[in-house]
Every structure is written in structure tokens, then in C-alpha cells.
Amino acid sequence: MQAFELIASVASPAELAGTDLSPYDAVCLGSPYCRRVEGNYAEALGGIPEVVSRLHAMGKKAYVTSPATPREADLPHVGRLVDAAAAAGADALEIHNMGVLRILREKGRPVPAHMGAYANVYTHLAAGVMRDAGAVRVRPNAEVTLEEADTIAREGRVEAELLVHGKVPLGVTDRCFLLSEPEETDPKCPKACQEEHWLASRQWVLKTVGKGVLSGRDMCMLEHLPRLLRDGFRVFRVEGLYESAAYRSEVGAVYREALSRAAAGGEYRVEPRWADVVRRHAAKGLCNGYYFGTAGRKYVGTVLQDANPEV
């Protein structure tokens, strides 16, 4: 049995192109933020069979995400998405909205559910309700500590996925911040969110992707991987949405090597070349979210805490 699973998020063929997937065991396809993201795998359903087959041929699992904020008018599409993911043999559907989970259940659970970052999994009881509705895996909310995540998994009797690297999801909306006109008519859509935009105020920096707010700093759990494995966590995500192919490729390679070493036991330390990679790709510095009970933008540790201290 494999010691761990490393997942990359990839929104579209454009993001997939040039991304070295060799470090990853699984890919989560699509963007949950906006249906209008160009080529969004969760929207362009015709592309799902081909990419799922391709990933399977590479020996990787293929998950498909779903919209995080589906309004009533989006539900027919969600129904078709569930059917398409199941028909293509996707290994799971990532779900953020309880209505989508219910649709999956009503359809007889044709594909396992993974509860995503916006599903608000805070307690083992909530995880249990979702498990009973078809979830086999949950991603505890970003605000949940490692200790709580362990309880959720153990007492909720469901696998837990942890974000180990990348922007922390902080908020989701259905109104695009980057547009000045309705999205159907604004010429900036759908390109605006593919460019890099930050929100800066006082000592805070956030990243805006239009319908999502992400952390400015990059979550980095590199120096804590042995602890995660010791605590029994086995499923780890590198958040690759709205990042470059180099980011997904190089950060993934670092985590593959680091996790393999941590899983083998013995001495573990953050290699300088690993630190170089994560620092180079973290334009606004590093943090490790809420895992240790702090504010999300802080970094707890002894190795990488000095990155961009001014942010």
C-alpha cells in the first residue's frame, strides 16, 4: 500500500499543459470558483473522458471538482457534471456545497464524494453526516487545527485530506471582483482572473482570483511532513489553481521527494534546494495556515519562518 497520496489541482487544459504530473498520485480537475474559467474541466464536460483516461493511463487518479457556489440555475449543470464524471470513470467528485452532495446521493452515488475546502467541515459529526451521504474523504476547513483534523478523521470515520502547500482558500463569492460590468458582457472576462492580482493593505496581502480570495502567503508544511505522517494523515494537496506550470511541477517535485523521505523514516531535514524552490515560488512569503492554532498568515516552525517577514 502506498504511504501517501499527493494531489495537484488543475483547472483547465491550459493549466495542465506544461505541468509535470510525475510527482503527483492524483489530479483534481476543474476550478470550483467560477464556471466561466476558460476550459474549466468542471464546465466543459466533453473534455472529461479524455483527460480522465489520460490520467488513468499514467497510473494516476482523476478527481473532478464541482462549483463551490451553485445557485439554483446552476443545478442542472451540476447534475450533468455528476453524470459526466461517473461515466468517465472519475475516481471521485469534489464537493463544496451540500446541495451538490444531495444531488449525488439522489443519483445513487455513482461516484465517491470528496468534500472540498469550502464544505465547512469543522466537526466529526458533520463529517459523519457527509459520510452517510456518500463522502469517503473530507478536507477539514482551513481554520481547523491538525489536532481537530485528526479527530474529524478518526471519529468521523472518513479519510482526511490536508492542504500542504499553496494558497489557503479564504473566501468564495459569486460576484467577480475583477470585473466592472456583468460577467456576460465585461470584455475582461474570462481573462482577468488568469492574470495575477493581489490585494494589499497595511501589513496584509491577499490574492484575488475574482470570485475567490486566497491567502497572499503560500501555505508550506514542508518541515512538518514527518509529523503529518506520524499523526496518520496520508492525503496531501498542493494547491495549483491560478499558479504557473512551473509552480505545480517544481513544488510537486519537492513534496514528492520530501514525503518519500519522511515516509521512509530516519533522519529528515528540509534540504536547502527544497527551501529555494518554495521560497522562489512564494511571492509574498510563507505561512502554515491555522494548523497550529494561529492566525492563518503566520508561520510556525524553525526553518522557513524568515521568508518575507515584512508581509
Binding site: 451553485p70 453526516v129 473566501g171 492580482h197 493593505s201 496584509w204
Partner: protein, 320 residues
């Protein structure tokens, strides 16, 4: 007729809300609702408020609508057991697991799915109904068509906020505040107040309302002094439509406002709803607008002051 539900941030506010015409008042259990502790009540105060509500033939609803830690579930059950023993039956919750646990323990409790559930479609409403809720709060930007569909298809009560805020992000799906500052403060009962997390402890530092610069990849400022849209609304035009739709509860949020202002707001909505129901055919909203504008101005002044204080509070820890 739709129930008018008002906020009770203190015993004084509970009384003022009922005296001004509320049919029901919600209060927050200390450490367990989507406001900070100063606007919540401890158990003896809740019991007192519930007794008062019963004495005037009205309803008191108790909010346990934060998302706690798993380790706090036994405390939640003990507290709700104690309130149940004192005759409290109406609760507002967010976590579907807590809903099921409470409903299984006390099948005659009446559970409302909080605004924190972010219910945006009919399937969401059905999910929370199956978790034990008999009424759901519509997400603040939900359109009338979806409300109509929920009424027709979900078989669950519908609650609509007429005075609240529409955050930039969907309410209940935002952790921007705790990203900037987050503290764990455990009270004597063992409840963590998760300061800085509106979802977990009720205190939001409203950092979305500070001035933000939008900066591009090259560091160039693309737009300066932006605020992320977070608007306090005060709906009046929609009231006739909501009544026609048959919504079950019209809710006024605002535990953090002054008792006098909450009293004014409740009186305004009470009279407006009564006038509309009394003579729907000839009801016109225009005569109400001037009075409404005065209340909104008062509300905005109180809100501005509080927002500035909250952002300063968040900055107090800014360099750590």
C-alpha cells in the same frame, strides 16, 4: 402571517424588541453564536429571556450557530440539555452534525438552519431539512425565484433577512478575518471563543472594509483604496413581495447595535408589515421611505464606528 424575528443582544434588547412588536427574538449562547461575547448571553440570562418571552406569548430562539471543535460537542449537548430542561425548544444551528445530534436527543426541538449554512439552492434546503431543520435562512443574495422554489418544493420554512449585511464573500464561507488575527480564548465552561473567526467564534474584524490596493504581478497599483463590497442593507421595498411569497420569518439582524436603534427598527418593520397585510391592494412603500432613511443613517453611523474599532483591533496584533 410572517413572523417578525428580531435580535436580542442583551436582556434589555430582548424586552425592547418584544415591546416594539417582534414575534420572536433570537439570542446567542455565550461563545456559541455569530457575534462576540458581549452581545451573547450566559445560560441564566437565556433562561430569564425565555421565561419573559413565554410570559408575553412570544418565542425565544437560541443561537448555537458557530462551528465548534469536535472536542466541544459534549459541552454543546450539556448546554442544550440544560436549556431544554428549562423549557427552551427553539435553536438556531449551522453544523449539520450538531443538528442531527440535538434532534436525535430531543425530537421536539425546533431547529432553524442558520445563515451560516450558506443555503443557496433548493437542494441545500433539502439537505438541512434532512439534518433536522424545520426552517432555513435564505442566503442574503438569494433571488425571489429560488425562494419561491424552496417554498414550493422543499417543504421547509423560509426565513429572509431584511436587515443584515451582504459580505463580499458568501456569508459562512469566509476566513479572511482569522487569516489576519486569530486567538484562542477558552472560557470557564471550556468553550473556545476562536476570536477573529466569525464562523467559529462570532467575532469578525471586517478586514474586507479596510482600504485595499489592487496590485498586479509587477507590483504596479492597478486600483487604489478599494473596499471589498460589504453592504449593510435595510429592505423595505421587498416586504410586500416576501409576504406574498409566504415567507415564514422576516428577520432583523443587529445584536451589536444600540437598544434604541434595534427598537426603532423593530417598530418600523412591525408597522410596515401590519400596514401591508391590513390592506395589501392599496399598500405603497413611498410614505415609509423618509422614516427608513433616518433609521438607515443612524444604523450606518453606528456601523462605521464599530468597523473602525474592529479593524484597529485586528491591527493590534499586526506585526506578529
Amino acid at each position: 402571517m410572517a413572523e417578525l424575528l428580531a435580535s436580542g443582544g442583551s436582556m434589555e434588547m430582548v424586552r425592547a424588541a418584544f415591546e416594539n412588536g417582534a414575534d420572536a427574538v433570537y439570542v446567542g449562547a455565550k461563545g456559541w453564536s455569530r457575534r462576540r461575547a458581549q452581545y451573547e448571553m450566559d445560560d441564566p440570562q437565556i433562561v430569564e429571556a425565555a421565561r419573559y418571552a413565554r410570559s408575553v406569548g412570544k418565542i425565544l430562539r437560541v443561537a448555537f450557530n458557530t462551528l465548534p471543535a469536535s472536542a466541544e460537542v459534549p459541552l454543546f449537548l450539556a448546554k442544550t440539555d440544560a436549556l431544554y430542561a428549562e423549557g427552551v425548544r427553539d435553536f438556531i444551528l449551522t453544523d449539520p452534525g450538531l443538528m442531527m445530534a440535538l434532534k436525535n436527543r430531543h425530537p421536539d426541538t425546533i431547529l432553524h438552519a442558520s445563515v451560516g449554512c450558506t443555503i443557496i439552492n433548493v437542494q441545500d434546503a433539502l439537505f438541512y431539512k434532512e439534518a433536522g431543520a424545520s426552517q432555513i435562512v435564505a442566503e442574503c443574495r438569494m433571488g425571489m425565484e429560488t425562494m419561491r422554489k424552496i417554498k414550493e418544493e422543499a417543504g421547509v420554512g423560509l426565513e429572509v433577512l431584511v436587515h443584515a449585511t451582504t459580505c463580499y464573500t458568501l456569508l459562512g464561507r469566509c476566513t479572511m478575518s482569522s487569516y489576519t488575527k486569530h486567538e484562542h480564548r477558552v472560557d470557564a465552561e471550556g468553550k473556545d471563543h476562536f476570536l477573529g473567526s466569525p464562523n467559529r467564534g462570532g467575532l469578525c474584524y471586517r478586514v474586507c472594509l479596510t482600504d485595499w490596493d489592487q496590485v498586479g504581478a509587477d507590483g504596479e497599483v492597478e486600483a487604489a483604496g478599494l473596499t471589498l463590497p460589504n453592504t449593510a442593507f435595510f429592505l423595505a421595498d421587498d416586504i410586500p413581495g416576501l409576504i406574498d411569497l409566504g415567507v415564514d420569518t422576516i428577520k432583523i439582524q443587529g445584536r451589536e447595535y444600540s437598544v434604541a436603534l434595534v427598537g426603532e427598527m423593530v417598530r418600523f418593520y412591525r408597522e410596515l408589515i401590519d400596514a401591508c397585510v391590513r390592506d395589501r391592494a392599496s399598500f405603497r412603500i413611498e410614505p415609509w421611505k423618509e422614516r427608513m432613511a433616518r433609521i438607515v443613517a443612524e444604523r450606518d453611523a453606528e456601523r462605521r464606528e464599530k468597523t473602525a474599532g474592529l479593524i484597529d483591533e485586528s491591527l493590534a496584533d499586526g506585526r506578529q
